[in-house]
Structures are given as C-alpha cells and as structure tokens.
Amino acid sequence: MFAEASTVADKALSSGWFLEHAFIIPIIPAVAFALIIFFGKKLPMKGSELGILSMLASLVFSVGAALQWISRVNGAAKEQYVEPVIRSWTWWDSGGFEFGIGQHIDGLSLTILVVVAFISSLVQIYSLEYLRGDRRYTHFFASLTLFSAGMLNMVVAENMIQLILGWEIMGLCSFMLIGHWWEEGANSRAALKAFFTTRTGDIGLLVGTSVLFFSANSWTQENLGVSGFSIRGLSAWALTGDPSHAAITVGAVALFIACIGKSGQFPLHTWLPDAMAGPTPVSSLLHSSTMVVAGVFLVGRLYPVFFEGMNILGSGVNLITVIGGITIVVAAALAFVQTDIKKVLAYSTVSQLGYMMMGLGAGAWLPAVFHIFTHAFFKACLFLAAGSISHSASHHSFEMKKDMGGLRKFMPITFTTWVISTLALCGVFPFAGFFSKDEIIDNVGHNGYTVFMVVGLVGAFMTAAYMTRATYLTFFGEPRGASAGESHDDHGDAHATHDPHDAHDSHDAHASHGPHESNLLITVPLMILATLALSAGLFNATPFGKSWERMAKWVEPSSVVVEDMARASVGETRGAPSAIAAEESAHKDSVCGTSTPATGICYAPQLQHAPFKWAKGAMSVFIVLMGMLISWLISVQMYTKKSGFFVGLTSRNKVLALGYRFLVNKYYLDHLYEKVIVHGIAHPIAKAAYWVNQNILDGIVNSAGLVTRRVAGWVYRNVDQRVVDGAVNGSGAVARGTGNVLRPVQSGKVSQYGALLFAAAAVAGLVLIIVNT
C-alpha cells in the first residue's frame, strides 16, 4: 500500500484541507443515496432533503477545494508545474501489482466538480416542485443523487478503473432515471436504448484501458511507481516517446469510441433524444453537466494520450475532429424538424458536444473545457425552462407546434431566462457561449484545421436558426392547444390530474388553470442559471485581455518539463517523484508534445492559444445574427402568416421532401440499429445459434446415448446371451457397464456402475500407458 502517496511535497505549493480531502466529494452523495434508499420514505420530505443537502455539501467542498487550488496556483512560481493533488489507497491487487483508488485533483477536475455539484443542487431544488406528488418521488431523488455521485467520482478519479466505476454508475442511473415512468413501454425502451448504446461504446473503454495499461505499466511502475491505470502515469507516459505508435493509437481510438457512445457523438447519438422520455430535471442534469459530458471529460482528462495517439497538432485532420465536426452539423440539421421542444434541446446538446470534441481534437483544449463550463449553465437553464413551460402552461406537453405559442405574456421569467440562455447558446456577445464557442472556432482555425473552422461557423449559423425557430414557436404567435386552454389527453406525466382547462380562461395569466408562471422553486433556479448564462463567459474573457483569462491560468495544466528524481537518482526515491520545481531553462515554448524531453517528464502537451481579434469575433456574431434573422422571418411567414410559399413546401418540392423525410427519420440510423442490427442479432442469429444448440450439439449427445443403448442391447442379446453365456469377461463388463449407464433409473444400479466405470477406466489407463511407451 502506498502510504498515502500524496505527492504534495514541495513547500512552494500551498495546499489545504479541502484539496487534500476532495475524494470525500463523491462519497457524500453516495452515502446519501444509500440513506435515501433505506430510510427516505420515512423522512418528512421523503428523502429529497437528503439529496439536496448532500449536493449542497458537495458544492461547499468543491468550492473550498477550488479556492485552495486557486491560491495554490497563484502562489506558484511563474514557470512552475503545479502538481495535481493526488492521493491513492490500495483498492485491489493482482499479479503482484497494487491498484489504487483515490483522487487526482487539478484545475480540470475542480472545474467540473464545481459545475456538477452546482447544477445538481439546482436541479434537485427544482425537482421538489416539478415532481411533487410523483409516485416514485423518493426513488427519483435517490437515483438523481447517485447519478451525481457517479459523475463526481469519475471526475476525481485517480485511475482508469475508478473512472470506469463512475462512468458505469452513470449509465445505470441514466437507465433508472430515463425509465422513471416505466409503466409506459416507450419510456422503458428509451431507458434500455440509452444504457445499451453507451454500453456498446464501452467495448472501447474496456479494450482501450487494457491496451494502455499493458503498454504503459512497466514504464509507469519504473519511473513513477504508479500502475498503468493511473491518469498521471498515462499522461506522462504518453508524452515520453516511449509508447509504440500503434499501441497508443489503438488505445486512443478505442477510448474515443467509448466517448462517442457516452457523449452522444455521431453515429451513436441516437439514444440522447430518446432519453427525453425521462423527467425534465433528469434531462437537464444529464445534458448539462453529467453523463454526456463524461466522454468529453475523458478526452480532456487523458489528453496527452489522445494528443499523441491521434497526432493532434501534426495533421489537419483526425478522428476526433471528424466525428466532432460531423456531429455538429448532423445534429443541428435534425433540430430543425423537431416539434418537441425537449428534442430540439437534445439535438442542440449533441451539436454542442460536437463543438467540444472538435475543439479537443484540434488542440483547443482550454476552449473546449471552457465550453463544458459555460454550456452547463445555459443548457441546464433551457431544459429547466422547457420543464417550467410544460409544468405550468402546456399541460405536461412538450409539443411546440400543438400545445405552445405566445407564452411570453404568461411566463415572463421563464421567457426571459430562456431568451438569455438561447442567446448564450447561439454565441451572441457578451453572453457566455460567445466566449467559449468563439474561442473553439478561433483556435481550431489557428491550429490549421481550416475546414473544421468553417464547419464550426456553419454550425453556429444553424444553431442560431433552429433556436430562433424554437423560441418563436414557443413564446411568440398565438397560444395553441393546451396553452390555449384546450384540454386533451394527459401526456402521462406523473402528477397530471389537473381539471380540464376552461377555454375561456386561457388569456387570463392569473387563472389557476390557464398558462401561468411557475412558482419560486422553479423560477429561482432558472434565474440563477440565466445569470450565469449571461456572465460565466467573463471567467475566461479572452477579448478583454490577459488579466481576464483566469481559466487559462487556473485550469490549463502547464506544459513544463518536470525534473524527474526517479530517473536522476535511480532507486533512491522510487515511487515518489518529488521534484516539482520546473527546470530553470524551461521556456515558454516547452518541448512537451513535440519532442521527447531529454530529462524529466511532461504531463501536458504544449498548446498554443489563438490571439483574439475583434474582426473575427464580429464576423461570427454577424453569422449568428443572420441566422436568427433569417429564421425569424421564415418562422413568421410559416407559422403565423401561413404563407403559401413556405407552408407545405416540403410536400411540393420533391428534393426538399426527400431531405425532410431523411431528417424526420433521423438519417435512418435508428432503423439501421434497431431493425437491422439489434433485430438481426436478437432474432435470426440468436435463434439460429439456439437451433444449432438444440438440434446439432444436443442431437449429438442424445443420439450418442441412443446408439450406445442400441449397441448395448445388441451385444447383450447376441454376444452375452448366445456366445459368452455366463462368462463375464472384460469386454462384457464394459458393454454391460455402458448398458447400465443408460438405465440407472430403471435398474438402480448406479453404484454397480461406479465400480465398473472404475475398472474400465483402469483398463483404459493401462492401454494409454502401453500405447505411449
């Protein structure tokens, strides 16, 4: 056991209780989960209080750790490598190696920790009202809490196994939460699909982890005294030039396949929109800060592995950027044909995750991480706003065309927060999304991925357009359907037993049954999130100069060469590379990532930052505004004025009709997966295998039994009775033995058989000996 292999040895770096004990952060909600499951129903608030308290406690711990981390960074020398706070305890050992569990805390993990704990707290508070009276209220809070615990655990993970633990727990919770209302077949199928699709990607996680472990283990054990699962070990190993190119590429590609599944990248994105079957707070949490971010986080976490394996700065194209780029456009296109407001948001998440992936693939690490940060706030806000609409206005419907419209008059707070978040999502200056998304596009171009910069801009245009369409359909025009007070079938939301709406009340914003603003438990989280959607971008506001780039300072790992004591003095301090001080000669352009350092270890590749130019920023904002304007004009024509040109266009023009059908059917990917692959395996292939089992394998067994019985019968009648009458010799014994084998029930001669078998075996054994000598 590593005696608390804390490596905070250098006095120059400050630490603190929260930093040293960050591993507690996921434990709090995990314990709360167990308490809710066992005692939740007996508590006054049915367990929800435990969930909320645990999330708030995690938030406090995360913020505390983050503050201490900031002072640690601020206290460090200018070119110093700020060592992550790593602790590890033995979890399991095998083959003479010890494998740990613990924490790996640095800027990246703290950023995500704070976001996850913060959003989870708000979502749980929101759920108090949204799920009031739900039939499985306690279970809901239990699952939600465990969900956050899984994500938090993944983020603090010290090694890959611990990361997989969090990763899979999230998969389990997404299954429980998406299928929360499992009475309906559609919900339970969506839950199954989510789990199953991500699990398919997880083949890559298992394979990639194995490949990297065996490739890296001997190096990491020797140089760092950690296993080949360790995140720090893998990061350092990837940048040494030690790994064979094939191994690290295979490892990186395999891991990326897992990220494709988890982060809803093309072509495994199909589970994400279906996951809307879950309650809205789940969608909000799942889409903003947990689950889907996991894949992006993994790429960011093990960035050196992907950096080397995918040769990120060495070429103008790689798997990550291609997948990310395709995802941006493909998902954005799908968002145009959705009528369900949550599905628009779902595809927008897929598309935004594409941005993050593309950024990571193109060497824009910091902008991508920053985009995770800002996206979490405005996407959570958008989902919660959609929930607020369905909760208080549209009678639990999410159909924009059928049941919404004109809601800005009834729901001013929801409307305002929605608009702020939409502007942030579209990337309008000075909302949060502008700073992060624009940085991604800018850096992608700067690093030589020109084509993908264009893809990013096209995506920005499309995002602006489909969000404007959704905003128009929801909040402008005349109220329709449920929002207009028409009653229709309950959509199966758990707590829907409102009286049928009175058509005459529909314009009265204060009527209890008409569309109205939601109460404070819903609107306060919305307002908090909208504030952040407005302001979070300032956290790393590149346009305003160096002093505003706090994220770059606190979060981005420094790519300096760290002097490695283990290498310098062999055997002396093996297992604890204690030198943290940077090489004196380390310059701004570190060799990390480009060539192998002669001495010392790199933990992060040297990345470049594109200088911000107002002209470029203005151009992308212009593109976004054009997108909004065009979309607005078309929406007005199409949905309000019912212009003869636009309405029914897709049914008149054959090419457009084809394209529309293609989109509505989601590129037929679901058909491919469900009808062809899953159906194929589950039915013909499985049935065929089973047929072989029953008729061929079993047939052999049964006919062997039958033949032996016939032979035995024949021998008995013809040999035993006629020829050797009375004389029991060796062969007769064997034959009768076989006969008895088949009739122990009838004859009850099992014991006799045992003796005969023993004798026969002895004879056969002797024969074998004789043959072989």
Partner: protein, 527 residues
C-alpha cells in the same frame, strides 16, 4: 511447518460434519418435518461456524501456501492418502459452498419443492455439502475424484425427484454427461500416476513431477482432464446438459449447481490440470481460450433466444463461465486471479438470480418472459432484487461481477509468454463484445418482466392506476400467490446481496487472498 499443521482438524470437521447431521436425521421419523429442517439447518450452521473458525485461523500472510495440512494413510494399495489442505484459492470456494448450503437450507424452510419429503431432500443437500467442501480441500487425486463424484448423486436425485416436468431426461443427461467426463478424467489421472512412476497420487507430488513427462504424452493426458473439467464448467460445446438441468432442477438445486458445482470444473483446471501438465497447458491454452470466447458469445446468443427466464439465466452461466475460462487460458496470474474472483462472484450473483427465478415461479407459476410484466408494481422488492442482480451480472463496476469480468478481458491482452498475443487480443475484443450482449439479454429480461403494467392474467387490470410503491397493493384475492419477498427469503438472500456489494466495493478482500496462491501456481507453469 508445524504452524501450518496446527488445527488441521478444522478442515476434516468442516467437511464431514454435515454427514453427522445426516446420521442424526436418519433416526428422526419422516413425519417430523420441522425437526428435520431444524436439524439440517443447525448442522449447516455448525458447519459454517467451523468454516468461519477456519477463516479466523487462516494465516493470510501465507495465503500462497497450503495450510491446515493433514495426511494419513488411506488406500495404501494404490498409494492414495487422505491428504487435505487449503490455500488462498480453495478457501473462498470452500467457504462459499458452506454459505450457500446454509442459505439454501433457510430458503427451504418454507419452500420444499413438490413432492415434499424434506427429510430426504435435506439429507441429500448435506451430503452434497460434504462433497463440495471435500473437493476443494483434497490434496490427493483419488480423494479429489471421490468427492468430485460424490457431488453427482445427490444432485442427480434432487433433479430427478424434485425437478420439473421433464426431470427424468434432465437428471439422466446431467448424470451421464458428467460421468462421461469423469471417466475420461479418471483415465487421465491414472495415466498421470503411472507416468510419474506410480509413486503417489498426492497433488503436490504430481505438480512437482508432472512437468517431466514428455510433451506429447502430456497433451493426451491433458485431453482427458480437459473433457472431465470442461463438461463440469461447462464449456462450449459440452454445455448442453446445463440448461436442461437448471431448468428442471428445483430452486435449491439450481442455486447450488450454479453457485458451487460449476466451479468444481474451473477449480480442477487451476489446481490440477494446468500446474501438473504445464507443457500441455501451453499447447491447449489457445484452444481453451477459443472455446471460452465462443462460449461467451454463444451463451449470450442462446440467452437472447430464450423465452423462459430460468433457462435464460442458465445460458448466461455458459457466457459467464466463458470469462472465467478465458482468464484461466491466459495462464497469467492476472487472468487466474480474475478467474477465481469470477468464480466467487458468479456463485453469488447467479445463485441469487436462480433464487429470484424460483420465487417468481412460485408466485406466478410460470417463467415465461412474455407472460410476466410489471413485476415492479406487483412485487416491488422482488423486482428490485432482480434488477440489482441483473446489474451485478452484467458486470457493473462497484458490484462483484465486474472484478471477474474486466480483469479477465484485461488479462487476455497480455497472455503468458509463449502464447500468441495476436490470438488472445482477438479473444479480448470478442470477450469485450460479449459484455454488450450480456447487457442486452439481461436488461431485456428486466425490462420485459419488471417494467410495464402487470398483465391481466395476473390481476394487472384490477390494480390501482395510481399504484403505489409500497407492498400493500397486491393482496388481490384471486392472486393470493403473488406476494412480495417473505421473511425467509430475506434472510436467505441478504447475505448474498451484501456479499455482492461488499466484494464489489472492496475487491481486495478476495484478491489479497487469491493472488499469492495463484502466483504459486503460475510459477509452476512459468518454470
């Protein structure tokens, strides 16, 4: 080595104590059913008590060595001795067999399968316990063989007398198939005995001297053992007895079969076949690996084709034991650790799944997946337990199944030196795909049986539309059989559920024990 010989009575007592219980039960009239049950349970508990005492005496720092060794003359004509001992591999399996027997006894308190007769049923179970425990402690091949075969008879009668409609066929098939394997195994044992100079049947002696046998001969001897053990595991294509035996066996039989009996085969590979015949093991390993991954995929496909819950679980055993065998076939300590962990984990999880299947059958009188629906509504606790086991079975990290599955896949990347890396890496990818199929059939099972509304057949239509989660809404007069988990079931199941979580969260409880013992065996192969 006196320390290791101290207290060497514990193993013998732990193994033969159940027979004392049988003796007592013989003199109790058949009609005294409660007394019979009580005696059987007390015997099983006392046996477990001895097992726990063994645990406290066990020297964990020397888990790689045989402890509590005892050796006395037995059948001196064939140079076989009564030679027993236990190390880090045997210990968990030995204790597992005791725990499972106790739990099955508790479960039997109100679940004696038709046609009744608890006296005979429980006596057979105690005999079975002796056979299982004895197999894991034997250090002599003849002794091992006797125990190995002793297990067959009680199981044969359990299936044949207390089984389902097709019990005659299933029990006969089970018996003959394993007997067929045993016969070849015995031939192999004898050949090994003669080839090493007919000196001794002691396992340590044979391990020491087996390696000197010419490679060609080794390969043939290994073939005999392979069939004997592979039938028991069961490996593809020798598995066809398993679904029938499981489907027809009473719940208790299925649980013991899945939890312990299958492990006799894999244990045989690790303890006997591989260390005694290292050269042959190297030759055979790629083929064993191949059959393992075929088993993983094939078993999963078999599951997907099932319409019967119990049969599905039976087929899943084929797939899971495939992971165990894949780990073994790498011949590395990594792989064998995974295999032994996988054996224990599979014992807990699949044993539990068969318990659940038995209870479903008892309530619904069917295991047709298509007819079951909405169990979460009618029997919420039972359905939650099913969900929990399903998750554990598909290898969710944090639960025991993961530590058998993932390290096995991992180990295939880097098999022992001398084995083809390419071949095993292909196996690794195929095995990883097997985990997806496992997720598919298990979740599919759970989704169809637990989710949705209960079918009208089982009173689903009468249930309250606002059905609550507590267990008070299923006292439907017409379906009085459908009730949630009873107290006996809770008592019998809770230890398994705790074990699944405990070993999942703290895998080192087992790895720490297994690793040194496995290392000792791997050194035999590696030379």
């Amino acid at each position: 080595m006196d320390i290791l010989r101290d207290h060497n009575w514990v193993l013998s007592v732990g193994t033969f104590l159940p027979l004392a219980g049988v003796l007592v039960m013989l003199f109790i009239p058949k009609a005294e059913e409660q007394l019979q049950k009580a005696v059987a349970l007390i015997t099983a508990l006392a046996t477990l008590g001895v097992g726990v005492y063994t645990l406290t005496l066990f020297n964990y720092d020397r888990a790689g060595e045989m402890q509590f060794v005892a050796q006395t003359n037995w059948i001196s004509v064939i140079k076989s001795t009564y030679y027993i001992g236990i190390d880090g591999i045997s210990l968990p399996l030995y204790i597992l067999s005791m725990v499972i027997t106790v739990l099955v006894m508790i479960y039997s308190w109100d679940h004696i399968p038709s046609p009744g007769n608890p006296k005979a049923f429980l006596m057979l179970m105690l005999v079975l316990q002796t056979g299982m425990a004895g197999t894991f402690i034997s250090q002599d091949l003849i002794l091992f063989f006797v125990f190995f075969e002793l297990v067959l008879l009680p199981m044969y009668f359990m299936i044949g007398v207390w089984g389902g409609e097709n019990r005659q066929y299933a029990s006969l098939k089970f018996f003959l198939y394993t007997m067929f394997g045993s016969a070849l195994m015995l031939v192999a044992f004898l050949a090994l005995f003669f080839k090493t100079g007919a000196e001794s049947f002691a396992i340590p002696y044979l391990v020491e001297n087996g390696g000197a046998i010419a490679k060609n001969t080794q390969v043939w001897i290994f073939a005999g053992m392979f069939i004997g053990f592979a039938v028991k595991v069961p490996m593809f294509p020798f598995h066809t007895w398993l679904p029938d035996a499981h489907t027809q066996a009473p719940t208790q039989g299925s649980v013991i079969l899945a939890a312990v009996l299958l492990k006799l085969g894999t244990y045989g590979f690790i303890r006997i076949a591989i260390p005694m015949l290292p050269d042959a093991a190297m030759e055979w390993a790629p083929y064993i690996g191949l059959l393992s991954v075929i088993g993983i995929i094939y078993g999963a496909l078999g599951c997907l084709a099932q319409t019967d819950m119990k049969r599905l679980i039976a087929f899943s055993s084929v797939a899971h034991m495939g992971f165990v065998m894949l780990g073994i076939s790498t011949l590395t300590s990594f792989g064998m650790n995974a295999a032994v962990f996988g054996m224990v984990a599979h014992g807990l999880i699949t044993g539990m799944l068969f318990f659940v299947a038995g209870s479903v059958k008892e309530r619904y009188h069917t295991l047709e997946i298509a007819r079951l629906s909405g169990m979460l509504k009618q029997v919420p606790h039972l359905a939650w337990i099913l969900g929990f086991c399903v998750m554990a079975s598909l290898g969710l990290p944090g639960l025991a199944g993961f530590w058998g599955e993932f390290p096995a896949i991992l180990s295939a990347y880097s098999p022992m030196e001398g084995l083809s890396e390419t071949t095993f890496r292909i196996y690794m990818v195929i095995a990883a795909m097997g985990t997806v199929l496992a997720a598919a059939y298990l979740l599919w099972l759970f989704q169809r049986t637990a989710f949705g509304e209960p079918t009208a057949e089982f009173g689903g239509s009468t249930s309250d539309a606002h059905g609550h989660d507590d267990h008070s809404d299923h006292d439907d007069a017409h379906h009085s059989d459908i009730h949630d988990v009873t107290i006996y079931e809770w008592v019998a199941w809770t230890p398994l559920l705790i074990g699944i979580v405990l070993f999942g969260v703290m895998p080192n409880l087992l790895f720490k024990l297994i690793d040194p013992a496995v290392a000792a065996i791997v050194t035999q192969i590696g030379g």
